[in-house]
Protein backbone atom coordinates (compact mmCIF):
# COMPACT_ATOMS: atom_id res chain seq x y z
CA UNK A 1 0.00 0.00 0.00
CA UNK A 2 1.37 3.39 -0.95
CA UNK A 3 1.36 5.83 1.86
CA UNK A 4 -0.27 9.12 0.92
CA UNK A 5 1.15 12.02 2.87
CA UNK A 6 -1.25 13.99 4.97
CA UNK A 7 -2.62 16.81 2.88
CA UNK A 8 -5.64 19.09 3.04
CA UNK A 9 -8.86 17.46 1.89
CA UNK A 10 -9.43 20.17 -0.69
CA UNK A 11 -6.09 19.43 -2.37
CA UNK A 12 -6.22 17.31 -5.50
CA UNK A 13 -4.03 14.33 -4.72
CA UNK A 14 -3.70 13.30 -8.37
CA UNK A 15 -1.76 16.47 -9.15
CA UNK A 16 0.72 16.04 -6.30
CA UNK A 17 3.64 16.45 -5.95
CA UNK A 18 2.96 19.98 -7.10
CA UNK A 19 4.78 21.83 -9.87
CA UNK A 20 6.57 24.52 -7.83
CA UNK A 21 10.37 24.61 -7.45
CA UNK A 22 11.89 22.84 -4.44
CA UNK A 23 11.84 25.23 -1.51
CA UNK A 24 9.26 27.54 -3.05
CA UNK A 25 6.82 29.12 -0.61
CA UNK A 26 3.73 28.66 -2.80
CA UNK A 27 3.18 25.13 -1.50
CA UNK A 28 2.98 26.42 2.06
CA UNK A 29 0.61 29.24 1.18
CA UNK A 30 -1.60 26.77 -0.67
CA UNK A 31 -1.42 24.41 2.29
CA UNK A 32 -2.68 27.19 4.55
CA UNK A 33 -5.39 27.98 2.01
CA UNK A 34 -6.35 24.31 1.62
CA UNK A 35 -6.69 23.88 5.37
CA UNK A 36 -8.68 27.10 5.63
CA UNK A 37 -11.07 25.85 2.92
CA UNK A 38 -11.41 22.52 4.74
CA UNK A 39 -12.03 24.07 8.13
CA UNK A 40 -14.64 26.47 6.76
CA UNK A 41 -16.30 23.65 4.84
CA UNK A 42 -16.56 25.66 1.63
CA UNK A 43 -14.83 23.38 -0.90
CA UNK A 44 -18.00 22.94 -2.96
CA UNK A 45 -18.56 26.69 -3.15
CA UNK A 46 -15.06 27.96 -3.90
CA UNK A 47 -14.04 29.34 -7.28
CA UNK A 48 -10.28 29.69 -7.37
CA UNK A 49 -8.48 31.85 -9.91
CA UNK A 50 -4.76 32.03 -10.53
CA UNK A 51 -2.66 34.56 -12.41
CA UNK A 52 0.28 34.36 -14.78
CA UNK A 53 3.61 33.88 -13.09
CA UNK A 54 4.37 31.07 -10.70
CA UNK A 55 0.81 31.17 -9.36
CA UNK A 56 -0.46 29.69 -12.63
CA UNK A 57 1.13 26.39 -11.61
CA UNK A 58 -1.80 26.08 -9.20
CA UNK A 59 -4.32 25.71 -12.04
CA UNK A 60 -4.97 22.05 -11.18
CA UNK A 61 -3.88 22.20 -7.54
CA UNK A 62 -7.22 21.96 -5.72
CA UNK A 63 -10.34 19.91 -5.95
CA UNK A 64 -12.20 23.14 -6.53
CA UNK A 65 -13.36 24.86 -9.71
CA UNK A 66 -10.41 26.80 -11.02
CA UNK A 67 -9.63 29.26 -13.78
CA UNK A 68 -6.15 30.32 -14.82
CA UNK A 69 -6.20 33.80 -16.32
CA UNK A 70 -3.71 36.39 -17.62
CA UNK A 71 -1.04 38.38 -15.80
CA UNK A 72 -2.76 40.72 -13.37
CA UNK A 73 -6.23 39.81 -14.59
CA UNK A 74 -7.28 37.33 -11.95
CA UNK A 75 -8.93 40.07 -9.92
CA UNK A 76 -11.30 41.18 -12.72
CA UNK A 77 -12.05 37.61 -13.85
CA UNK A 78 -13.03 36.63 -10.32
CA UNK A 79 -14.91 39.90 -9.91
CA UNK A 80 -16.87 38.88 -12.99
CA UNK A 81 -17.57 35.46 -11.50
CA UNK A 82 -18.57 36.86 -8.12
CA UNK A 83 -20.92 39.45 -9.57
CA UNK A 84 -22.54 36.76 -11.69
CA UNK A 85 -22.65 34.20 -8.88
CA UNK A 86 -22.70 35.96 -5.49
CA UNK A 87 -23.25 32.59 -3.78
CA UNK A 88 -19.73 31.41 -4.67
CA UNK A 89 -16.63 32.05 -2.58
CA UNK A 90 -14.17 33.60 -5.01
CA UNK A 91 -10.42 33.55 -4.38
CA UNK A 92 -7.97 35.40 -6.62
CA UNK A 93 -4.43 34.07 -6.20
CA UNK A 94 -1.47 35.98 -7.59
CA UNK A 95 2.10 37.11 -7.14
CA UNK A 96 3.47 40.52 -6.29
CA UNK A 97 4.01 41.45 -9.95
CA UNK A 98 0.45 40.47 -10.83
CA UNK A 99 -1.13 42.32 -7.93
CA UNK A 100 1.10 45.36 -7.43
CA UNK A 101 2.38 46.07 -10.95
CA UNK A 102 0.47 44.87 -14.02
CA UNK A 103 -2.80 44.34 -12.16
CA UNK A 104 -2.51 47.13 -9.62
CA UNK A 105 -5.42 49.09 -11.09
CA UNK A 106 -7.62 46.05 -10.64
CA UNK A 107 -6.50 45.50 -7.05
CA UNK A 108 -6.95 49.16 -6.14
CA UNK A 109 -10.40 49.42 -7.72
CA UNK A 110 -11.68 46.08 -6.47
CA UNK A 111 -10.65 47.20 -2.98
CA UNK A 112 -12.18 50.65 -3.46
CA UNK A 113 -15.44 49.08 -4.65
CA UNK A 114 -15.30 46.73 -1.68
CA UNK A 115 -15.79 43.70 -3.96
CA UNK A 116 -16.88 40.66 -1.98
CA UNK A 117 -13.72 38.89 -3.06
CA UNK A 118 -10.65 37.42 -1.41
CA UNK A 119 -7.25 38.21 -2.91
CA UNK A 120 -4.25 36.18 -1.76
CA UNK A 121 -0.97 37.62 -2.95
CA UNK A 122 2.38 35.88 -2.62
CA UNK A 123 5.25 38.31 -2.02
CA UNK A 124 8.68 36.88 -2.78
CA UNK A 125 10.40 40.15 -3.69
CA UNK A 126 10.84 39.24 -7.36
CA UNK A 127 9.31 37.91 -10.56
CA UNK A 128 9.89 34.20 -10.21
CA UNK A 129 8.49 32.64 -13.38
CA UNK A 130 10.29 35.01 -15.74
CA UNK A 131 13.64 34.51 -14.07
CA UNK A 132 14.07 36.82 -11.11
CA UNK A 133 13.50 40.39 -12.26
CA UNK A 134 12.87 43.32 -9.95
CA UNK A 135 9.31 43.41 -8.60
CA UNK A 136 7.38 46.21 -6.87
CA UNK A 137 8.28 44.36 -3.66
CA UNK A 138 12.03 44.06 -4.27
CA UNK A 139 13.78 45.40 -1.19
CA UNK A 140 16.10 48.44 -1.32
CA UNK A 141 19.58 47.44 -2.56
CA UNK A 142 18.38 43.90 -3.31
CA UNK A 143 19.97 42.41 -6.42
CA UNK A 144 17.74 41.00 -9.14
CA UNK A 145 18.19 40.35 -12.87
CA UNK A 146 16.95 43.85 -13.69
CA UNK A 147 18.59 45.52 -10.72
CA UNK A 148 21.96 43.73 -10.89
CA UNK A 149 23.66 46.39 -8.78
CA UNK A 150 20.88 46.42 -6.24
CA UNK A 151 17.52 48.22 -6.27
CA UNK A 152 18.22 51.90 -6.38
CA UNK A 153 15.32 53.52 -4.54
CA UNK A 154 16.22 56.94 -5.94
CA UNK A 155 15.43 55.60 -9.40
CA UNK A 156 12.81 52.94 -8.77
CA UNK A 157 11.16 53.89 -5.52
CA UNK A 158 10.48 51.85 -2.42
CA UNK A 159 8.77 48.48 -2.18
CA UNK A 160 5.00 48.45 -2.39
CA UNK A 161 3.24 47.89 0.89
CA UNK A 162 0.15 46.10 -0.29
CA UNK A 163 -1.98 45.37 2.77
CA UNK A 164 -1.24 48.86 4.09
CA UNK A 165 -2.41 50.31 0.77
CA UNK A 166 -5.56 48.17 0.76
CA UNK A 167 -6.26 49.20 4.36
CA UNK A 168 -5.84 52.87 3.44
CA UNK A 169 -8.28 52.81 0.53
CA UNK A 170 -11.00 50.60 1.97
CA UNK A 171 -13.73 51.46 4.40
CA UNK A 172 -15.20 49.51 7.26
CA UNK A 173 -15.89 45.90 6.34
CA UNK A 174 -12.66 45.21 4.52
CA UNK A 175 -9.94 42.91 5.79
CA UNK A 176 -6.20 43.25 5.15
CA UNK A 177 -3.38 41.23 6.66
CA UNK A 178 0.16 40.11 5.99
CA UNK A 179 1.23 36.63 6.93
CA UNK A 180 4.33 34.62 6.23
CA UNK A 181 5.18 31.07 5.24
CA UNK A 182 7.43 31.11 8.31
CA UNK A 183 4.25 30.94 10.41
CA UNK A 184 1.75 28.80 8.51
CA UNK A 185 -0.62 28.53 11.45
CA UNK A 186 -0.93 32.31 11.68
CA UNK A 187 -1.15 32.61 7.88
CA UNK A 188 -3.99 30.09 7.85
CA UNK A 189 -5.75 32.14 10.51
CA UNK A 190 -5.51 35.29 8.38
CA UNK A 191 -6.74 33.44 5.29
CA UNK A 192 -9.64 31.98 7.25
CA UNK A 193 -10.63 35.42 8.50
CA UNK A 194 -10.35 36.81 4.99
CA UNK A 195 -12.60 34.06 3.61
CA UNK A 196 -15.03 34.44 6.50
CA UNK A 197 -15.18 38.14 5.69
CA UNK A 198 -16.31 37.27 2.18
CA UNK A 199 -18.75 34.63 3.43
CA UNK A 200 -20.26 37.20 5.79
CA UNK A 201 -20.59 39.63 2.89
CA UNK A 202 -18.59 42.29 4.75
CA UNK A 203 -16.41 43.29 1.85
CA UNK A 204 -13.03 43.00 0.23
CA UNK A 205 -10.44 40.82 1.90
CA UNK A 206 -6.75 40.73 1.19
CA UNK A 207 -3.90 38.61 2.53
CA UNK A 208 -0.30 39.03 1.49
CA UNK A 209 1.98 36.10 2.24
CA UNK A 210 5.72 36.60 2.60
CA UNK A 211 7.35 33.76 0.75
CA UNK A 212 10.69 32.48 -0.46
CA UNK A 213 12.14 32.05 -3.93
CA UNK A 214 15.38 30.09 -3.48
CA UNK A 215 15.67 29.46 -7.22
CA UNK A 216 15.96 33.13 -8.10
CA UNK A 217 17.42 34.32 -4.83
CA UNK A 218 20.16 31.67 -5.27
CA UNK A 219 19.91 30.83 -1.61
CA UNK A 220 20.19 27.59 0.31
CA UNK A 221 17.51 26.58 2.79
CA UNK A 222 19.12 28.37 5.71
CA UNK A 223 19.60 31.64 3.85
CA UNK A 224 16.13 31.44 2.33
CA UNK A 225 14.51 31.21 5.74
CA UNK A 226 16.76 33.90 7.14
CA UNK A 227 15.74 36.23 4.33
CA UNK A 228 12.03 35.57 4.86
CA UNK A 229 12.13 35.75 8.63
CA UNK A 230 14.68 38.48 9.24
CA UNK A 231 15.23 40.61 6.15
CA UNK A 232 11.75 40.76 4.65
CA UNK A 233 9.97 41.33 7.96
CA UNK A 234 12.06 44.43 8.62
CA UNK A 235 10.25 46.09 5.77
CA UNK A 236 7.02 44.09 5.58
CA UNK A 237 5.36 43.95 8.98
CA UNK A 238 3.50 40.73 9.67
CA UNK A 239 0.07 41.01 11.25
CA UNK A 240 -3.49 42.16 10.72
CA UNK A 241 -3.61 45.64 9.29
CA UNK A 242 -7.35 46.03 9.04
CA UNK A 243 -10.19 43.91 10.36
CA UNK A 244 -13.89 44.71 10.61
CA UNK A 245 -14.87 45.85 14.08
CA UNK A 246 -16.42 43.13 16.22
CA UNK A 247 -20.19 43.45 16.40
CA UNK A 248 -21.55 44.66 19.75
CA UNK A 249 -22.93 41.76 21.75
Amino acid sequence: MTKVPNMPKSWRQETKPHKFCPGCGHGLVLKALGEAIDELGIQDRVVFGCDIGCSLLAWDFFNVDTVQTHHGRTTPVLTGVKRARPDRICIAYMGDGGGYAIGSQHLVNAAARNEKLTVILVNNCNYGMTGGQMAPTTLPDMKTETSPYGRNVAETGYPTQGPEMVAAITREGAYAARGTVANVRQLKGFIKKALQNQIDGNGFSFVEALSGCPTNWSTNAKDTWAFIEETMTKYFKVGEIKAPAKKEE
Partner: protein, 361 residues
Protein backbone atom coordinates in the same frame (compact mmCIF):
# COMPACT_ATOMS: atom_id res chain seq x y z
CA UNK B 1 -40.50 36.67 -12.47
CA UNK B 2 -40.20 40.09 -14.04
CA UNK B 3 -42.26 40.73 -17.13
CA UNK B 4 -40.65 40.47 -20.53
CA UNK B 5 -38.96 43.77 -21.40
CA UNK B 6 -40.66 43.87 -24.79
CA UNK B 7 -44.20 42.56 -25.11
CA UNK B 8 -44.89 41.47 -28.67
CA UNK B 9 -43.39 43.93 -31.11
CA UNK B 10 -43.15 47.67 -31.21
CA UNK B 11 -42.17 50.26 -33.80
CA UNK B 12 -39.70 52.69 -32.25
CA UNK B 13 -37.47 55.59 -33.26
CA UNK B 14 -34.24 55.53 -31.30
CA UNK B 15 -30.44 55.76 -31.38
CA UNK B 16 -28.36 52.68 -32.08
CA UNK B 17 -26.91 52.62 -28.60
CA UNK B 18 -30.41 52.52 -27.16
CA UNK B 19 -31.22 49.73 -29.60
CA UNK B 20 -28.26 47.70 -28.30
CA UNK B 21 -29.48 48.02 -24.71
CA UNK B 22 -33.01 46.95 -25.68
CA UNK B 23 -31.68 44.05 -27.74
CA UNK B 24 -29.55 42.83 -24.85
CA UNK B 25 -32.62 42.97 -22.61
CA UNK B 26 -34.70 41.13 -25.20
CA UNK B 27 -31.94 38.52 -25.44
CA UNK B 28 -32.20 37.94 -21.68
CA UNK B 29 -28.69 39.20 -20.98
CA UNK B 30 -27.94 39.04 -17.26
CA UNK B 31 -25.11 41.45 -16.82
CA UNK B 32 -23.22 44.22 -18.53
CA UNK B 33 -19.67 45.13 -17.59
CA UNK B 34 -18.70 48.45 -19.10
CA UNK B 35 -16.32 51.37 -19.21
CA UNK B 36 -17.08 54.78 -20.71
CA UNK B 37 -15.82 55.57 -24.19
CA UNK B 38 -17.49 57.51 -26.98
CA UNK B 39 -19.44 56.65 -29.08
CA UNK B 40 -20.81 53.68 -27.13
CA UNK B 41 -21.62 55.38 -23.79
CA UNK B 42 -25.39 55.40 -24.20
CA UNK B 43 -25.42 51.61 -24.34
CA UNK B 44 -24.52 51.82 -20.65
CA UNK B 45 -26.80 54.77 -20.03
CA UNK B 46 -29.85 52.91 -21.27
CA UNK B 47 -28.80 49.59 -19.76
CA UNK B 48 -28.35 51.10 -16.31
CA UNK B 49 -31.80 52.67 -16.52
CA UNK B 50 -33.60 49.64 -17.92
CA UNK B 51 -31.75 46.69 -16.40
CA UNK B 52 -32.75 47.00 -12.71
CA UNK B 53 -36.42 46.92 -13.71
CA UNK B 54 -35.89 43.44 -15.03
CA UNK B 55 -33.51 42.12 -12.38
CA UNK B 56 -30.40 42.62 -14.53
CA UNK B 57 -27.06 43.91 -13.33
CA UNK B 58 -24.30 46.31 -14.30
CA UNK B 59 -20.78 47.02 -13.15
CA UNK B 60 -18.73 49.99 -14.26
CA UNK B 61 -15.17 48.69 -14.19
CA UNK B 62 -11.88 50.54 -13.81
CA UNK B 63 -10.94 50.19 -17.48
CA UNK B 64 -11.65 48.17 -20.61
CA UNK B 65 -9.13 45.51 -19.62
CA UNK B 66 -11.28 44.86 -16.59
CA UNK B 67 -14.55 45.14 -18.53
CA UNK B 68 -13.33 42.44 -20.91
CA UNK B 69 -12.08 40.12 -18.19
CA UNK B 70 -15.11 40.55 -15.93
CA UNK B 71 -17.22 39.68 -18.96
CA UNK B 72 -15.14 36.51 -19.35
CA UNK B 73 -15.62 35.70 -15.66
CA UNK B 74 -19.36 36.24 -15.79
CA UNK B 75 -19.71 34.07 -18.89
CA UNK B 76 -17.64 31.31 -17.27
CA UNK B 77 -20.01 31.53 -14.33
CA UNK B 78 -22.83 30.77 -16.76
CA UNK B 79 -24.42 34.16 -17.29
CA UNK B 80 -25.17 36.00 -20.51
CA UNK B 81 -22.68 38.84 -20.19
CA UNK B 82 -21.72 41.57 -22.55
CA UNK B 83 -19.72 44.72 -22.87
CA UNK B 84 -19.41 47.51 -25.40
CA UNK B 85 -16.51 49.66 -26.48
CA UNK B 86 -14.76 51.53 -29.28
CA UNK B 87 -11.33 52.52 -30.53
CA UNK B 88 -8.65 52.55 -27.83
CA UNK B 89 -11.08 50.63 -25.61
CA UNK B 90 -11.26 47.92 -28.24
CA UNK B 91 -7.46 47.71 -28.12
CA UNK B 92 -7.56 47.07 -24.38
CA UNK B 93 -10.25 44.44 -24.77
CA UNK B 94 -8.17 42.40 -27.18
CA UNK B 95 -6.29 40.83 -24.28
CA UNK B 96 -9.42 39.38 -22.73
CA UNK B 97 -10.84 38.42 -26.11
CA UNK B 98 -7.65 36.44 -26.81
CA UNK B 99 -8.33 34.54 -23.60
CA UNK B 100 -11.95 34.06 -24.66
CA UNK B 101 -10.70 32.63 -27.95
CA UNK B 102 -8.35 30.18 -26.28
CA UNK B 103 -10.85 29.10 -23.61
CA UNK B 104 -13.94 29.31 -25.83
CA UNK B 105 -15.70 31.77 -23.56
CA UNK B 106 -19.05 32.98 -24.96
CA UNK B 107 -18.50 36.70 -24.57
CA UNK B 108 -20.51 39.29 -26.48
CA UNK B 109 -18.81 42.57 -27.35
CA UNK B 110 -20.49 45.43 -29.20
CA UNK B 111 -17.99 47.67 -30.98
CA UNK B 112 -19.08 51.12 -32.13
CA UNK B 113 -16.15 52.03 -34.33
CA UNK B 114 -14.61 55.49 -34.02
CA UNK B 115 -11.86 57.13 -36.04
CA UNK B 116 -8.29 55.96 -35.53
CA UNK B 117 -5.44 55.33 -35.11
CA UNK B 118 -4.91 56.45 -31.53
CA UNK B 119 -7.52 58.79 -30.09
CA UNK B 120 -8.60 59.69 -33.64
CA UNK B 121 -12.18 60.92 -33.58
CA UNK B 122 -15.16 59.96 -31.45
CA UNK B 123 -17.35 60.02 -34.54
CA UNK B 124 -17.13 57.25 -37.08
CA UNK B 125 -14.95 54.84 -39.05
CA UNK B 126 -14.60 51.27 -40.20
CA UNK B 127 -11.04 51.10 -38.96
CA UNK B 128 -11.57 48.46 -36.28
CA UNK B 129 -12.15 45.64 -38.74
CA UNK B 130 -8.69 44.11 -38.54
CA UNK B 131 -8.57 44.44 -34.76
CA UNK B 132 -12.05 43.08 -34.17
CA UNK B 133 -11.52 40.16 -36.55
CA UNK B 134 -7.90 39.32 -35.84
CA UNK B 135 -6.85 41.16 -32.67
CA UNK B 136 -4.94 39.37 -29.97
CA UNK B 137 -2.03 36.96 -30.14
CA UNK B 138 -4.06 34.31 -31.90
CA UNK B 139 -5.79 33.16 -35.04
CA UNK B 140 -8.94 35.28 -35.17
CA UNK B 141 -11.26 32.50 -34.05
CA UNK B 142 -14.18 34.82 -33.53
CA UNK B 143 -17.62 35.55 -34.89
CA UNK B 144 -17.97 39.13 -36.15
CA UNK B 145 -21.30 40.51 -37.39
CA UNK B 146 -21.07 43.83 -39.21
CA UNK B 147 -24.40 45.62 -39.02
CA UNK B 148 -25.72 48.28 -41.38
CA UNK B 149 -28.90 49.57 -39.77
CA UNK B 150 -30.65 49.92 -36.45
CA UNK B 151 -32.90 46.99 -37.28
CA UNK B 152 -29.83 44.88 -37.84
CA UNK B 153 -28.25 46.13 -34.63
CA UNK B 154 -31.29 44.83 -32.78
CA UNK B 155 -31.45 41.55 -34.71
CA UNK B 156 -27.73 40.81 -34.51
CA UNK B 157 -27.21 41.68 -30.86
CA UNK B 158 -29.81 39.01 -30.08
CA UNK B 159 -28.16 36.67 -32.56
CA UNK B 160 -24.72 37.39 -31.09
CA UNK B 161 -25.80 36.02 -27.71
CA UNK B 162 -27.14 32.91 -29.37
CA UNK B 163 -24.08 32.38 -31.56
CA UNK B 164 -21.74 32.94 -28.63
CA UNK B 165 -23.50 30.37 -26.47
CA UNK B 166 -24.15 27.91 -29.27
CA UNK B 167 -20.67 27.91 -30.79
CA UNK B 168 -18.63 29.07 -27.80
CA UNK B 169 -16.45 31.56 -29.60
CA UNK B 170 -16.19 35.23 -28.62
CA UNK B 171 -18.81 37.08 -30.64
CA UNK B 172 -18.74 40.68 -31.79
CA UNK B 173 -21.32 43.06 -33.18
CA UNK B 174 -19.39 45.57 -35.23
CA UNK B 175 -21.28 48.82 -35.46
CA UNK B 176 -19.96 52.36 -35.78
CA UNK B 177 -20.45 55.85 -34.44
CA UNK B 178 -23.06 56.70 -37.06
CA UNK B 179 -25.17 53.72 -36.09
CA UNK B 180 -24.53 54.43 -32.41
CA UNK B 181 -25.63 58.06 -32.39
CA UNK B 182 -28.13 58.30 -35.23
CA UNK B 183 -31.86 57.89 -34.64
CA UNK B 184 -33.71 55.55 -36.92
CA UNK B 185 -36.99 53.70 -36.93
CA UNK B 186 -37.06 49.97 -36.39
CA UNK B 187 -39.19 47.24 -34.90
CA UNK B 188 -38.10 45.87 -31.56
CA UNK B 189 -39.61 42.59 -30.53
CA UNK B 190 -39.74 39.71 -28.12
CA UNK B 191 -37.47 37.10 -29.80
CA UNK B 192 -39.95 34.32 -28.93
CA UNK B 193 -42.51 36.05 -31.15
CA UNK B 194 -40.21 35.50 -34.14
CA UNK B 195 -39.57 31.90 -33.21
CA UNK B 196 -36.11 32.77 -31.85
CA UNK B 197 -35.22 30.56 -28.93
CA UNK B 198 -32.44 31.80 -26.71
CA UNK B 199 -29.59 29.29 -26.48
CA UNK B 200 -29.34 27.92 -22.97
CA UNK B 201 -26.37 28.98 -20.88
CA UNK B 202 -24.30 26.77 -18.62
CA UNK B 203 -21.60 27.51 -16.05
CA UNK B 204 -18.09 26.12 -16.34
CA UNK B 205 -17.12 27.45 -12.93
CA UNK B 206 -19.10 27.17 -9.71
CA UNK B 207 -20.81 23.93 -10.70
CA UNK B 208 -23.02 22.02 -8.30
CA UNK B 209 -21.69 19.15 -6.21
CA UNK B 210 -18.46 18.43 -4.36
CA UNK B 211 -15.55 18.60 -6.79
CA UNK B 212 -13.35 15.52 -6.61
CA UNK B 213 -16.17 13.55 -5.02
CA UNK B 214 -19.42 14.02 -6.94
CA UNK B 215 -17.67 15.26 -10.07
CA UNK B 216 -14.23 16.19 -11.31
CA UNK B 217 -13.22 19.76 -10.56
CA UNK B 218 -13.48 22.19 -13.45
CA UNK B 219 -9.88 23.16 -14.17
CA UNK B 220 -9.75 25.79 -16.90
CA UNK B 221 -6.44 26.98 -18.24
CA UNK B 222 -4.95 28.82 -21.19
CA UNK B 223 -1.32 27.96 -20.52
CA UNK B 224 0.46 25.03 -22.12
CA UNK B 225 3.85 23.51 -21.51
CA UNK B 226 5.16 22.33 -24.85
CA UNK B 227 4.91 23.23 -28.53
CA UNK B 228 3.15 19.94 -29.19
CA UNK B 229 0.62 20.44 -26.44
CA UNK B 230 -0.21 23.95 -27.65
CA UNK B 231 -0.32 22.88 -31.30
CA UNK B 232 -2.84 20.21 -30.42
CA UNK B 233 -4.99 22.65 -28.46
CA UNK B 234 -4.95 25.29 -31.20
CA UNK B 235 -5.57 22.68 -33.90
CA UNK B 236 -8.68 21.61 -32.02
CA UNK B 237 -9.85 25.22 -31.83
CA UNK B 238 -9.23 25.76 -35.53
CA UNK B 239 -11.02 22.55 -36.45
CA UNK B 240 -14.01 23.52 -34.30
CA UNK B 241 -14.08 26.97 -35.88
CA UNK B 242 -13.85 25.62 -39.42
CA UNK B 243 -16.65 23.18 -38.69
CA UNK B 244 -19.09 25.86 -37.56
CA UNK B 245 -18.02 28.46 -40.14
CA UNK B 246 -20.40 27.38 -42.94
CA UNK B 247 -23.29 27.56 -40.49
CA UNK B 248 -22.32 31.00 -39.23
CA UNK B 249 -21.38 32.76 -42.48
CA UNK B 250 -23.87 35.37 -43.70
CA UNK B 251 -23.80 37.68 -46.70
CA UNK B 252 -26.07 39.50 -49.10
CA UNK B 253 -25.90 39.89 -52.88
CA UNK B 254 -27.54 42.62 -54.93
CA UNK B 255 -27.67 42.15 -58.71
CA UNK B 256 -24.40 40.24 -58.76
CA UNK B 257 -25.56 37.59 -61.26
CA UNK B 258 -24.88 39.68 -64.33
CA UNK B 259 -22.83 42.51 -62.82
CA UNK B 260 -19.70 43.72 -64.53
CA UNK B 261 -18.62 45.77 -61.54
CA UNK B 262 -19.28 44.35 -58.08
CA UNK B 263 -19.05 46.80 -55.20
CA UNK B 264 -17.93 45.18 -51.99
CA UNK B 265 -18.85 47.01 -48.78
CA UNK B 266 -19.83 46.13 -45.23
CA UNK B 267 -21.53 47.77 -42.30
CA UNK B 268 -23.25 51.09 -42.79
CA UNK B 269 -21.50 51.56 -46.16
CA UNK B 270 -23.67 48.79 -47.63
CA UNK B 271 -26.49 51.34 -47.65
CA UNK B 272 -24.57 53.65 -49.96
CA UNK B 273 -23.56 50.67 -52.08
CA UNK B 274 -27.14 49.39 -52.37
CA UNK B 275 -28.41 52.86 -53.34
CA UNK B 276 -25.57 53.29 -55.83
CA UNK B 277 -26.37 49.99 -57.52
CA UNK B 278 -30.01 51.01 -57.88
CA UNK B 279 -29.02 54.32 -59.52
CA UNK B 280 -26.45 52.69 -61.78
CA UNK B 281 -28.87 49.99 -62.88
CA UNK B 282 -31.50 52.64 -63.69
CA UNK B 283 -28.89 54.18 -65.97
CA UNK B 284 -28.23 50.86 -67.64
CA UNK B 285 -24.88 50.25 -65.95
CA UNK B 286 -24.20 46.65 -64.91
CA UNK B 287 -23.30 47.16 -61.27
CA UNK B 288 -23.84 44.77 -58.39
CA UNK B 289 -23.07 44.69 -54.69
CA UNK B 290 -21.67 42.01 -52.39
CA UNK B 291 -22.12 42.65 -48.69
CA UNK B 292 -20.52 40.38 -46.12
CA UNK B 293 -22.56 40.36 -42.90
CA UNK B 294 -20.07 38.18 -41.05
CA UNK B 295 -16.51 39.43 -41.43
CA UNK B 296 -15.35 36.40 -39.42
CA UNK B 297 -15.96 33.78 -40.66
CA UNK B 298 -16.00 35.24 -44.17
CA UNK B 299 -18.13 34.11 -47.12
CA UNK B 300 -15.15 32.92 -49.14
CA UNK B 301 -16.99 30.60 -51.53
CA UNK B 302 -19.73 33.07 -52.41
CA UNK B 303 -17.22 35.80 -53.14
CA UNK B 304 -15.05 33.46 -55.22
CA UNK B 305 -18.04 32.63 -57.41
CA UNK B 306 -18.59 36.35 -57.98
CA UNK B 307 -14.89 36.94 -58.61
CA UNK B 308 -14.96 34.32 -61.38
CA UNK B 309 -17.62 36.10 -63.42
CA UNK B 310 -17.26 39.83 -62.62
CA UNK B 311 -15.03 42.11 -64.69
CA UNK B 312 -14.02 44.21 -61.71
CA UNK B 313 -14.32 44.29 -57.93
CA UNK B 314 -14.52 47.61 -56.15
CA UNK B 315 -13.97 47.60 -52.40
CA UNK B 316 -15.49 50.65 -50.72
CA UNK B 317 -14.82 51.25 -47.05
CA UNK B 318 -14.22 53.91 -44.39
CA UNK B 319 -10.75 52.51 -43.70
CA UNK B 320 -7.50 52.19 -45.61
CA UNK B 321 -8.15 48.77 -47.06
CA UNK B 322 -8.96 46.66 -44.01
CA UNK B 323 -11.92 44.97 -45.68
CA UNK B 324 -9.88 44.79 -48.89
CA UNK B 325 -7.28 42.62 -47.12
CA UNK B 326 -9.96 40.12 -46.15
CA UNK B 327 -11.37 40.20 -49.68
CA UNK B 328 -7.97 39.66 -51.33
CA UNK B 329 -7.28 36.76 -49.03
CA UNK B 330 -10.66 35.23 -49.91
CA UNK B 331 -10.28 35.52 -53.70
CA UNK B 332 -6.63 34.52 -53.87
CA UNK B 333 -6.03 32.78 -57.18
CA UNK B 334 -8.70 34.65 -59.13
CA UNK B 335 -7.58 37.08 -61.78
CA UNK B 336 -10.32 39.70 -61.56
CA UNK B 337 -8.93 43.22 -61.02
CA UNK B 338 -9.65 44.80 -57.66
CA UNK B 339 -9.83 48.49 -56.94
CA UNK B 340 -10.27 50.19 -53.63
CA UNK B 341 -11.98 53.38 -52.53
CA UNK B 342 -10.63 53.97 -49.06
CA UNK B 343 -11.87 56.81 -46.85
CA UNK B 344 -10.49 56.17 -43.36
CA UNK B 345 -12.79 57.74 -40.81
CA UNK B 346 -15.11 59.31 -43.40
CA UNK B 347 -18.64 58.49 -44.41
CA UNK B 348 -19.27 57.37 -47.99
CA UNK B 349 -22.31 58.40 -50.05
CA UNK B 350 -24.13 56.64 -52.86
CA UNK B 351 -23.29 59.57 -55.16
CA UNK B 352 -19.57 59.08 -54.59
CA UNK B 353 -19.84 55.42 -55.48
CA UNK B 354 -21.95 56.10 -58.59
CA UNK B 355 -19.39 58.60 -59.84
CA UNK B 356 -16.55 56.23 -59.05
CA UNK B 357 -18.09 53.37 -60.99
CA UNK B 358 -18.89 55.57 -63.99
CA UNK B 359 -15.38 57.00 -64.06
CA UNK B 360 -13.90 53.55 -64.11
CA UNK B 361 -16.07 52.17 -66.92
Amino acid sequence: MAEKPIQGEKRVFMTGNEVVAWAALAAEADLMYGYPITPQNEVMHYWTRLAPKFGKKFLQTEDEISAGFTTCGGALAGKRCFTATAGPGNILMQESMAMAEMMRIPTVLVVQQRGGPSTGTVIYSQQEVTMTCFGGNGEGLRIVYSTGSHQELFDYVIKAFNSAWKYRFPTFVLGDGYQAKMRESLVIYDPALKGIKMEPTAPRLGLEGMPGVDRPPSHLRNTYNTEEELFEAVSELVAAYEKIAPEVVEYQEFFTDDAEVVIIAHGVVTRAAQAAVKTLRSQGIGAGHFRPVTLRPFAVDALKTIAKRAKKLLVVESAQGQLAKIVKDAIYGESVPLEGYYRPGQGITAEEIVELVKKGM
